[in-house]
């Protein structure tokens, strides 16, 4: 869905739903997930897929579990090496 303009940035590794994912040190978790096409980020109670929408902290569509904390807004969080992320998807 997205591509980077800064391919020479340092690369770190984060874990998304148990799988390693390459991330650029200067991007947000939401940008990283979208760049890898890792959507939806959550599924609603009625079963509809949702993904990052406003990217400024106002819509709460991009909330994920991050290092054990629930409902973290991926768009407000810069990636950090070793981060562990779980999307809010049904089992």
């Amino acid at each position: 869905m997205l591509r980077t303009l800064d391919p020479d940035q340092p690369v770190v590794t984060i874990t998304v739903d148990g799988a390693p994912v390459g991330a650029f040190a200067g991007e947000t978790v939401a940008a990283c997930l979208m760049r890898h096409g890792l959507v939806p980020t959550r599924v609603t109670p009625s079963g509809r897929p949702r993904a990052p929408y406003c990217l400024m902290g106002a819509c709460f569509e991009c909330t994920v579990e991050l290092d054990g904390r629930t409902h973290v807004q991926a768009c407000l969080t810069p990636v950090r090496d070793g981060m562990v992320i779980c999307r809010n998807l049904p089992e």
């Binding site: 997205l2 591509r3 800064d6 897929p49 949702r50 400024m56 819509c59 709460f60």
Partner: protein
């Protein structure tokens, strides 16, 4: 056991938001010796318009942006990034940072939370791959990322044109712009055109923007209606009507935009008064000319109070800081007048251009015009049809609609639906609609029970809150 709250050193002024208004206020307050802490929920200072100004630039920022960012960085104000404010408890501000509850005593508080995009209600607007136009700007400026593959910008507003141009310049031109401005808008807006003389730089910027989008050769579909995002699990394109024909554009990303409104939920949850402005289809915070809110010791500046753009936000931020400095006895009335008078005069003069801009870019994609199947409340999954049924069953106001449908009761706390509800009520009931805003209570953001439990304890800098 939850960690106890971290107690931050008390500040003469706590600024909430590190955008143009917040940065300008911090710089001005520091000039007069106030201890200033700036709490901001974003990863870096700049707000939306100056997002990413401290990293590698992929756009050209406004000329006042870099000097302001530099002045802020060297002002001596303490900047706390990733700080999500959720309450005011007496004279303390409570915020969360990476799950840790923090508490800071504030002699004065300035809310400078900026703008957010007006909710857009069209069928399919919740599919993955549908984003706001501001989101594309956020990817570009904050993460150095651009759309990969065909994408379309749809809606109306200066930000849409600016973003299209910035993306084209960065090597990722949109497949098309689907412009929803109805016919006759320019003629209707001309009534306010004389006001543009008050802000010629703004008028010239607008003309240059429109001309540069034309020169960039981006296909534009004008006066589009009946927008509908295509796809089942992801956005696959946009369908619309233009020039008397049904059209579709295939796109993996669909970016929607319908202007900006104050991002004022925090100020409202603190208890500050706001009023509905029918001309804007949004609320504006009640403040005096210095930004003083309806609450003692709380000021509001910039687009978070009323939309006027980034540059004017810097003026209102400075004016609020000067008023705080006067209230704290750091400057006397004569010094205040000497510093504030020219800023206030410039602000008043430039504000005269708003009538034209607001009329030209009045909302085009609100719930009032949407089909029943479109989703009005993203969090609680309430459709426009369900809201219309509740109105038909007797709901006359925002609170009754909230009670009948749950709209506004999810994690975004009405950020994405309140204005849709209000405009739907106004359209369906006319003068009979009760547009009083639904109450927003503490916490101003969703918090965990552990964060809440931690908020009244604390061992930190002073070991005491007093």
């Amino acid at each position: 056991m939850p960690q106890p709250a971290r107690i931050e050193p008390a500040a003469d002024l706590v600024v909430i938001g590190a955008g143009p208004a917040g940065m300008a206020a911090a710089v001005e307050a520091r000039r007069h010796g106030l201890a200033v802490t700036v709490l901001d929920d974003q990863p870096a200072a700049g707000g939306q318009i100056l997002r990413g100004i401290a990293r590698r630039h992929h756009i050209r920022y406004e000329p006042w942006g870099q000097p302001l960012a530099d002045a802020f960085a060297t002002s001596g104000a303490r900047h706390v990034a990733g700080a999500a404010v959720w309450a005011r408890d007496g004279d303390a501000i409570l915020f969360g940072q990476e799950g840790r509850t923090c508490r800071i005593r504030a002699r004065a508080t300035l809310v400078a939370t900026g703008s957010m995009e007006r909710p857009v209600v069209v069928p399919g607007n919740t599919l993955p791959g549908v984003v706001t136009v501001g989101a594309l700007q956020s990817f570009l400026k904050g993460s150095g990322a651009v759309p990969d593959g065909p994408f379309v910008l749809a809606g109306c507003g200066p930000l849409l044109l600016l973003t299209a141009l910035q993306l084209a310049t960065a090597g990722a031109p949109p497949t098309a712009i689907v412009d929803t401005m109805p016919r006759g808008r320019w003629r209707a807006a001309m009534a306010g055109a004389a006001g543009l003389l008050g802000d010629m730089p703004l008028a010239l910027k607008g003309i240059s923007l429109i001309a540069r989008v034309r020169l960039a050769g981006i296909p534009v579909h004008r006066h589009a209606t009946e927008l509908r995002v295509l796809g089942t699990d992801r956005a696959e394109g946009l369908a619309f009507r233009a020039d008397g024909e049904n059209r579709t554009i295939a796109a993996g990303l669909v970016a929607l935009h319908d202007g900006v409104v104050p991002h004022d939920q925090l100020a409202v949850s603190l208890g500050c008064e706001s009023r509905f402005d029918p001309a804007l289809g949004s609320y504006r915070m009640v403040t005096d000319a210095d930004g003083r809110s309806s609450l003692p010791d709380v000021w509001i500046a910039g687009d978070g109070a009323a939309i006027a753009g980034g540059y004017l936000a810097t003026l209102s931020g400075s004016l609020a800081a000067l008023d705080v400095a006067r209230s704290a006895g750091r400057i006397d009335a004569a010094e205040h007048a000497r510093l504030a008078t020219p800023l206030a005069a410039e602000r008043r003069r430039r504000l005269r251009a708003r009538a034209f801009v607001d009329a030209l870019y009045a909302p085009t994609l609100s719930a009032a015009a949407a089909p029943d199947a479109a989703l009005l409340c993203r969090c609680e999954e309430v459709t426009v049809g369900q809201a219309r049924a509740a109105i038909a069953a007797g709901a006359r106001g925002t609170r009754q609609l909230k009670a009948a449908t749950r709209c506004g009761m999810g994690p975004c706390q009405g950020r994405q639906c309140t204005l849709s509800v209000v405009n739907l009520l106004a359209r369906e009931l006319g003068d009979g609609a009760d547009l009083v805003r639904p109450s927003l209570r503490t916490p101003g953001r969703p918090v965990t029970v552990a964060e809440l439990a931690a908020s009244h304890e604390g061992h930190g800098h002073t070991g005491s809150d007093a």
